[in-house]
Amino acid sequence: MESLENAIEVRHLRKAFGTLKAVDGIDFELKQGEFLTVFGPNGAGKTTLIKILSGLTQPSSGTAKVAGFDVAEGHPEMRKEIGVISHSTALYADLTPLENLMFFARMHGLEQPEDKALKVIGEVGLSPRRNDRVRTFSRGMLQRLSIARAILHDPAILFLDEPFTGLDLHAANVLKEHLQRLHDSSRTILMTTHDISCGLEMCDKVALQVQGKFAFLENISDVDKDRFESMYFDAVRDNQFAMGISL
């Protein structure tokens, strides 16, 4: 039963692309209902970590368990438990929001796909545009719609890769409130973001990923929020020196 209590369990996880170590030995676990925010500079391997955890790419070594399933096995049952927002929208440009979400609802095997689709479209505030082609949407509208796609099947675990990108202030607040509600109803959430105050505000645990490693992983109660920013900038600066970039 121990593995069920831990919604996510990551051990010595590594992923290399040739000689580049995108994820280089990460260990952590999240209990059901915990919210982890991962900060880190560009290229730190945050997206790669999320891809491994959602079963989109295989780790080079190490293990990761999500909802009790080994991610490397690619079990369809595991995918029922997770919702993912990533850099790409994963929406069909020639279909409308309603058609897109009905499609994903059917692929998830949900009852009444149309009702479910309409409900989440309303939640992200896209009802007036539900019958327009997605191709014509603005960046923020696309982001809202990918949020709708990720929460459509009410997953127990959410992987959110920079979910606030492109959202206007209102939409960002709506998303924050929604994440808060999901958090309160004990969904497990792993989020990456570059927005420090927003990321620190909602989470239970904070990690700072630099060059594929967690340079820092603490409970939020042990984190001095004012000092976090300067620590973050130190890490980013060191990383840029390591990568040979000078600004």
């Binding site: 891809k51 959602s54 079963g55 989109l56 790419t57 295989q58 690619g74 369809p76 049952e77 595991m78 995918r79 029922k80 997770i82 993912v84 990533s86 850099h87 790409s88 929208t89 994963a90 929406l91 069909y92 440009a93 020639d94 279909l95 058609e99 499609f103 994903f104 059917r106 692929m107 998830h108 095997g109 082609r133 796609r149």
Partner: protein, 226 residues
Amino acid sequence: MNLYLNQIAAIVWKDFVTELKTRELLSAMFIFALLVILIFIFSINLSIVKASEVGPGILWVAFLFAGTIGLNRSFMLEKENGCLMGLMLVPADRTAIYFGKLISNLIFLSIMELFILPLFMIFFNIDLLSHLGPLLVVVFLGTLGFCALGTLLSSLSSNLKTREIMLPILLYPLLIPIIIGAVRMTGQILDGTELFDMMKWIGLTASFDIIYIGVSIMTIDHILEE
């Protein structure tokens, strides 16, 4: 099982809705196939060669080339905006995704072929109507093999930068048995041979259809991994 069939149906439905709006796939395939036939018509003197001798080869060249355009386009839709990643995230067996794409490719190619056949009949002045039943059986067997392997290989090559080039390079050599079978059978049908008199060829083509589908079921899991 119900969910599995539902997922296949959802993919086919999605491709249909897209095509109804854009009409890009069918029009591109149709125009290409038509052009192939027209080029041959103008370069062949039909008073010297018998239409039923050159016709089958030309017909299948048109189907194959147009079909390749269709396969490329059909997979491009899945790659755009990372849709394929979205498909990888739903709790569907990879084979359901394969069969969904296979069936929609098969339907689109068949529609294209049904438009091309009457034009072929008119341009080459061949009477297809009297052999329509057997002809459709043969066209179906050939198209099924083409789509079965083509769907697999277009997902294999979809991660490559050179997808448009790689697909035909991988696909055509492996399709040779099916193409030979389909062209031979089409020729015999136009000469008035009955279906039972070419059971060998039918068996060959159908076996390759089954082999291609079987290989796809076995390998699609690994191919759709990134």
